[in-house]
């Protein structure tokens, strides 16, 4: 019977009760993947849209389009104003995914401690 302290005051990092199956999947890794892929999709969208904005930027130096320079400038400023933070929202989603995967890793370390606590006496006898 294990004596390692597994039930204690609430902790997000250390599981409160022993896992019935140490190989049971913690939900963090799937969530992390979902966030990372979602973030990448947002970044891909911003990148694709930036191509359109780049096309408008090229109009600014085109002498034949001097009449529309002011409206083009307004449009570029408008799109860049929300595209830039949107890119970082995508990046934040990826970084949050990394964080949640690490959170799962901390919990995994504690589950490993419990597994080792049970397995070590048996292994020592065999060793």
């Amino acid at each position: 019977m294990s004596n390692v302290q597994t039930t204690r005051s609430f902790s997000l990092l250390r599981p409160r009760s022993r896992a019935a199956d140490y190989n049971e999947e913690v939900p963090h890794y799937r969530t992390a993947l979902f966030l990372a892929v979602g973030g990448l999709m947002v970044i891909a969208f911003v990148t694709a849209f930036s191509g359109l904005v780049a096309d408008w930027v090229s109009d600014l130096t085109d002498p034949s389009k001097s009449a529309i320079v002011e409206s083009r400038t307004g449009r570029i400023e408008t799109y860049q104003a929300w595209l830039t933070p949107l890119f970082f929202v995508g990046l934040a989603s990826v970084l949050t995914g990394i964080s949640i995967a690490l959170w799962g890793t901390v919990q995994r370390v504690w589950i490993r401690v419990q597994a080792l606590d049970e397995a070590l006496p048996v292994l020592k006898r065999q060793g």
Partner: protein
């Protein structure tokens, strides 16, 4: 309590005693701080997205527009990167604290296991890479705050320039020059800050790698009832 110290080949020394020492103060801080840091980062970036939509609305009416609209737009443009990078810095700090929590869990859990199943408890002393990790993270976050300060100062100058007239008064050009100068310092500074934070994460991962090496060897020696410590020159 620790009674002896020994060097190891893992890049750090160890304390040898009879009792597990638990986590250090830094690990405890990390256990509490990772979630607030992540939450602050997400809130800052979400608010910059909302501000970006407001800024886009302003930009669509500003060419041509009033001096006040133009001044507000240019002010937001200058502020945006400083705030965004502070949000990213908070997120990276949250990740750094989680890595410190991984180290804390390895130390605490490893100590508990040794106390129960081994005659001696070998506890890693804080290696220089862990100190470097802390220093890099703190420096990175500080630089991001400093960069935000520069952005706020430049934003005030930019507002003062564009509020003069449409087009802005040429006699106020020195104000814009002052803002551009400050921004020239702020832009690389915020990148350096992110670089420090990422370097801190690398240092933390390096430390985790070394601590895992130590722990694998320690578990093996407990199973095989060996008390000999591999010799080395840890700090």
């Amino acid at each position: 309590m620790a009674t002896n110290t020994a060097t190891t080949p893992y890049g750090f020394s160890i304390n040898i005693g009879r009792k597990a020492t638990g986590q250090t103060f830094i690990h405890k801080v990390a256990n509490y701080m990772w979630l607030p840091m992540l939450a602050m980062g997400l809130m800052v970036l979400a608010s910059t997205q909302v501000a970006g939509i407001f800024q886009a609305d302003l930009a669509s009416d500003t060419f041509p527009g009033t001096a006040s609209d133009r001044a507000d737009l240019e002010t937001l443009k200058v502020l945006q990167p400083g705030v965004i990078f502070l949000g990213v810095a908070f997120l990276l700090s949250g990740i750094s604290f989680l890595l410190a929590s991984v180290l804390g869990a390895i130390r605490w859990g490893g100590g508990e296991i040794q106390e129960k199943h081994a005659s001696e408890v070998h506890t890693p002393r804080m290696p220089y890479t862990a100190w470097a990790f802390l220093a890099l993270m703190m420096t990175g976050l500080t630089l991001e705050f400093a960069s935000l300060g520069f952005h706020i100062y430049a934003a005030v100058q930019v507002h003062d320039y564009y509020i003069t007239a449409v087009p802005p008064d040429a006699s106020a050009l020195h104000v814009l020059g002052r803002a551009e100068t400050v921004l020239s310092y702020a832009a690389p500074l915020r990148m350096v800050g992110i670089g420090f934070l990422l370097a801190g994460i690398v240092s933390a991962l390096y430390t985790i790698g070394n601590v895992l090496r130590f722990q694998f060897d320690r578990v093996t020696s407990i199973i095989l009832n060996r008390d000999a410590i591999p010799e080395g020159s840890g700090s």
